[in-house]
Amino acid sequence: MSALTVREKLAILSDAAKYDASCASSGSAKKDSLTSGGIGSTEGMGICHSYAPDGRCISLLKILLTNFCIYDCSYCINRSSSNVRRARFSIDEVVKLTMDFYRRNYIEGLFLSSGVIRSPDETMGEMVEVARRLRLEEKFSGYIHLKTIPESSAELVEKAGLYADRLSINVELPTDEGVKRLAPEKKPETIRLSMAKLRQKMEEKAEPTLRTKKRERFAPGGQSTQMIVGADKTSDDGILHTSARLYGSYHLRRVYYSAFSPIPDSSSSLPLQKPPLMREHRLYQADWLMRFYGFSQPEILAGSSDGMLDLTIDPKLAWALRNRGRFPVDINRADREALLRVPGLGTKVVAKILETRRHRRMRLEDVGRICQSIAKLRPFIIAEGWSPGALTDKLGLRGKIVQSCEQLALF
């Protein structure tokens, strides 16, 4: 077999990486290349440089160092029993590709993951070396995300944190039982411990050192994780429970939900169907309710019959319909927490309402001017000259809102 060209390797190893949902390049410490004279910057907000036809942002060169893997996780295209073509980048090749792409402004940086070859430490060591070369030899100040291998040594993880903006460890599936069944060689206990150690390390390094009073740099973009949705039978309530636990326990910046996608040469233990994209979308919305809207995890689905998010309406509207006793909310008097619970009011609109009403009382039309659509809102608020009357409690309310939202979408 003749050696693969870089282009052939890139095709294989980006294809192998496309099932990973995370793509963010935001939330790291600000840095630029003015002082180093090198290349690259991160300014807090990430930039999507392109979009694939699957609607996902392309901000990083997301590739695997290699797709050879000793693990046999049935949901993964790179599992050892898969007949997929294998390839392996050299460290040089990854460094050069990253720099060549970055200089042309195709990307914000590198997201490097890898199949595990021989031993976790050997693979992790190579990933860290890529990051080290980029930072020290190429004077690269762009974004680097490394996928940490849970079994790798503490020294390697510490080095990774020195060069990377973000580290992540995949929990793989929402429950330990799921991991044991579909990824028999992976150990959920080790994955938890690795996340705990990362959190401890981040907190330890965030303390200013006594001598220099400066904080040491350690993965300023925090840690994240991803779980696959729809490959096992866990309900949305169970998935959100796991997320809430992960956010609380390990202070993750993000939990990514990746709808299980059928993969070529798929294992027979998994559902062969299109990925549940709407379910994935609803999970992200529910995740936002926990992170930005003050919802606790159990209340999001409290009162639902099957612990599943409604696919036709968003989780906040679904929650409001189940909790009508808390509505209508008075736009001119309610506090921030109560306004954030109103379907159709986002965090930005709520901030604007709070600012505006300091100067004048707001009418329904005023609210309508600063938010997308009033249809969803109307039954849930009181404004100057507007009261929903019995509308809030009407039995057919759900159907009405769904219908008017759909109609609006036509225009």
């Binding site: 003015l34 392109s50 996902r56 000793i70 050892s80 809430a244 609380g248 294992s267």
Partner: protein, 488 residues
């Protein structure tokens, strides 16, 4: 000369360029301080107009124009908008702000909304420029340069140039647009005149690799064309090397996805058996901890790692087992591990543990010589945002965990047990007792073990009033001194 009847405005202001904010600001100040009404001014850009400039009125002595602090910054952003009416609109905003200083805070006001919409459009266009500029390399070695062609909707080259300097400091680059260009020679930034697309290089060898990446990172089973176009509108496509692939990728997606689904699971790859044999040799059937009646504390600790006697393991990170010499004379029993203990896997290392340590130290008890454990070995909590709120273990959980406590006691055979708080007392005595009432007392169990009752050190942490906190610390210190006497 234009016909006089079309030139109704009393004042005509000429700006040096589309982005001459300083010129606008100066003129606007003069006008506003002389009470010139918006409808009495016409605004022009030199290059677009042969209109002469009227002499602008001087600022009356001592007059000052007060506007909200953020108006200037916001107006400067909106000024980059391509709307030719922006000069007059921004002056109208300024005019209104004199008598309505809160105007910018009223999100429902049409002018405030228009300002915001203009800013948003400029910011979005800037962001798209950061994203969609594509450099092409020309020359090699010392001659190496990177040149891009970009077509912005608004006048944003000047405001964006610094971003590219910060990002591509070590590179020589030029960005050409129809109305202006920015050039960085590694040292100095120069803003120059506009250019034509033909002035930029037509290709770059690396584009083939980039297109390979774009093709392969796309998952055909997840086609979402609308989501893509919302963020990457077609107007940008003609200057993006990867965009020409999109139509074919979309057209082929359905078939590619179906192929993925219908492809039958095949037999395992050839090397799979070898990998399995080498890395995952068949494990010995592991004994359950119950069968393995450990003969040492370390054996017990190992067995407890996989404990599933109650559901608390599901949310916790790990089992936090007892710690200390296996011949200790005294065992301290706390309630359950907390946030820090759960991460570290060791008992009493968090805030309450620190209080405990320092009081033990004051009492002259060497922590190295005592055994410290918890009634319940897994952390029980409610997640609230990024915090974990401790929640009290219930009687069932305490009961389940007695399996481990009993074995710890059986192996260590201490002379004394110290129950720190009600949960520990419940675990050690098998029934609920009023801790504050019985504090300082020693209860002898049926098996002869003496149990000293006191509070949990976290109780001290929860007191806010300093004098009361100090008093409680003293009481606990007194208890620990008593424990020391009992140990002797």
């Amino acid at each position: 000369m234009r016909p006089a009847e079309l030139n109704l405005a009393r004042y005509s202001v000429r700006l040096d360029s589309e982005t001459d904010f300083a010129g606008w600001r100066d003129a606007a100040r003069r006008m506003a301080l002389n009470e010139v009404r918006p409808e009495d001014i016409s605004w022009h850009v030199v290059s677009n107009s042969d209109q002469g400039q009227t002499d602008l009125p001087a600022i009356p002595a001592g007059a000052q124009l007060v506007v909200p602090r953020d108006f200037i910054a916001r107006a400067e952003t909106a000024f980059c908008h391509s709307d030719p009416g922006r000069f007059a609109f921004l002056y109208r905003m300024l005019w209104r702000l004199r008598t309505e200083p809160e105007l910018l805070s009223i999100a429902s006001d049409p002018d405030a909304r228009r300002l915001e919409a203009m800013e948003k459009a400029v910011r979005r266009d800037s962001h798209k420029m950061h994203a969609f500029v594509r450099f092409r390399k020309i020359g090699d070695g010392d001659e190496e340069r990177y040149v891009a062609w970009f077509e912005p909707d608004h006048f944003i080259v000047e405001r964006n140039a610094d971003f590219f300097v910060r990002r591509f400091t070590g590179m020589r680059w030029t960005i050409l647009t129809p109305y202006a260009s920015a050039d960085w020679d590694g040292d100095r930034l120069a803003i120059g005149p506009g250019a034509a697309k033909a002035d930029a290089p037509a290709q770059d060898d690396t584009e083939a690799l980039w297109r390979t990446y774009f093709e392969n990172i796309f998952n055909p089973a997840r086609l979402k064309v609308k989501a893509m176009q919302k963020e990457m509108p077609k107007k940008y496509w003609r200057n993006l090397p990867e965009a020409s692939l999109i139509p074919d990728l979309i057209a082929g997606a359905d078939k590619a996805a179906k192929d993925m689904i219908t492809k039958m699971p095949t037999t395992p790859a050839l090397h799979h058996a070898k990998v399995q044999a080498k890395h995952w040799p068949k494990r010995e059937p592991t004994q359950t901890p119950e069968d393995d009646d450990a003969r040492s504390i370390s054996g017990l600790r190992e067995a407890a790692k996989g404990c599933r006697r109650c559901p608390l393991w599901r949310d916790a990170t790990q089992t936090v087992f007892g710690e200390g010499p296996d011949n200790a004379k005294v065992i301290f029993v706390g309630e359950q591990p907390g946030d820090q203990e759960d991460l570290a896997g060791k008992p009493f290392v968090g805030p309450a543990g620190k209080v405990f340590d320092s009081i033990l130290d004051d009492a002259g008890v060497d922590r190295q010589k005592v055994y410290v454990t918890n009634a319940v070995k897994h952390f029980k909590f409610e997640p609230r945002g990024k915090r974990r709120i401790h929640s009290k273990p219930n009687a069932g959980e305490v009961q389940a965990c007695r399996w481990w406590i009993d074995r710890e006691f059986a192996l260590i055979k201490p002379e004394l047990a110290v129950a720190l708080g009600a949960t520990a007392a419940l675990s050690l005595l098998g029934k609920a007792i009023p801790v504050t009432k019985m504090r300082g007392q020693v209860i002898e169990r049926e098996d002869g073990l003496r149990v000293f009752i006191t509070i949990h050190p976290s109780f001290i942490l929860r007191i806010h009033e300093p004098a009361e906190k100090e008093a409680e610390r003293e009481r606990f210190l007194h208890d620990m001194k008593q424990v020391k006497r009992l140990m002797a």
